[in-house]
Symmetry: C2
Subunit: 286 residues, 2 copies
Amino acid sequence: MTAEYRQDGPRRVGQVKEVTSVANPIIKDIKALSQKKSRDESKTFLAEGLKLVIDALDRGWTIRTLVYAKAGKGKPLVEKVAARTVAAGGLVLEVNDKVMSSITRRENPQMVAAVFEQRWTALRDVAPKASETWIALDRVRDPGNLGTIIRTADAAGASGVILVGDCTDPFSLETVRATMGSMFALPLVKTTSADFLKWKTSVDARLVATHLAGAVDYRTIDYTSKPVILMMGNEQSGLPDELARAADKLARIPQVGTADSLNLAVATGVMLFEVRRHLLNLDGAK
Amino acid sequence: MTAEYRQDGPRRVGQVKEVTSVANPIIKDIKALSQKKSRDESKTFLAEGLKLVIDALDRGWTIRTLVYAKAGKGKPLVEKVAARTVAAGGLVLEVNDKVMSSITRRENPQMVAAVFEQRWTALRDVAPKASETWIALDRVRDPGNLGTIIRTADAAGASGVILVGDCTDPFSLETVRATMGSMFALPLVKTTSADFLKWKTSVDARLVATHLAGAVDYRTIDYTSKPVILMMGNEQSGLPDELARAADKLARIPQVGTADSLNLAVATGVMLFEVRRHLLNLDGAK
Ligand SMILES: [Co+2]
Ligand SMILES: [Co+2]
């Protein structure tokens, strides 16, 4: 990490910088964001795509560094994003295709990528209100699953995602990609199992957890009278007993053949559209 | 491809062969199965995992070549699978970890991998019966999506998956992995858009397609009076008009915000559990 990345405040730099070498120290720092350690230290992450970056800016996210391919030069939308980045004290880099590929680890990268500041919501600030659904994920391991779940949560009108215990990092490139921009739309919370259980007793919400043992049909549960916290267990081992015991209802999706054969993201999608069934309709959902 | 792979009939070889070099021609042929061309030529594919291989044998699939890591030697289940492979005229290879990693392209490979003969069901042999659900996928591109959809189809009790047009290969390593063994449980059909439309007019089934334009709420459609063919459009462009026009119903899942924001596998899962809602319950589904 260069000093430039360690500092948290806004940047002095206000002009566009041209970079042609993958060995450039700023480029090296951006590439280092593929590692969790670097993301944690710098409290930043990388996201790709012009539309996604514009959406993020419109939602009030802050760009630390904007990178665009030479082909983007002069394009009105790219120029506008560059101007907004500079105005907010961020750095703008114009790079060649080789540099762009090395940053995004893709052969055919998008025209724009940006380093954003991470955002976490504190669990103590989460107070589920009527008609709200929060998703709590217990030790989710697969980056693609987490990204797809965040995307699904956004599509179904859920209010946020709570990561319980040792989860995969939502700010990894793979997860950010799989969210398709939805990670800029939903609050993300990170907590321990113990803190989650404590918080649960302090809020007036129904904790519905998917579980194999002693479960009830997911379609027979009352999702309407209270806000719902939908809890999904880890891909391999399912939900640990201490979390299952705290649940108000243990739900199960009926399946043919083997007992627990749905992919986690698909199971979360099926549950979520059931939990919010009474709230979703074609003439303007929510 | 060595001659051994080009021939379609059963093998002469009946004993276990030890292989320690990644340059061994049989190993090279197995590694070549990561390419569609080699899979198409040999009409075979690679699958990993002891449990999965046993399940496949139990379902009547044929192993051409069984590969197991040295650590598997003497383990009763591995020995049993090896004996069954030999009895059916297949080849059995005992390999070191380096060879196993090179075949499976994983750092921590499973103990067992096997080359199976591909199986395709002809569309003309598909005649949906009452209570059956078939999934038709229009030009699905993502291997992980296809695998997850096959897995979901199996879990929800669907009868098979029809690949329409230029779809990703279901026999790729990534897709096979994502199916978690379900690809051995369901018939797979490959067809063109024109042949699919012709076939549709010859069967007494309801074609329900997801589509953005002029769609009806997916929960208001009659899924009970006829078998259902659930058609899902391509990840990027959705369903082409000629397929949409052939549909008996155009379904839509209500979503918040952007119109079409669900991942294809999640959308298929949500649709499928709605289509089969009346058929699935906790006391033994189907
Ligand atoms: Co599970
Ligand atoms: Co779509």
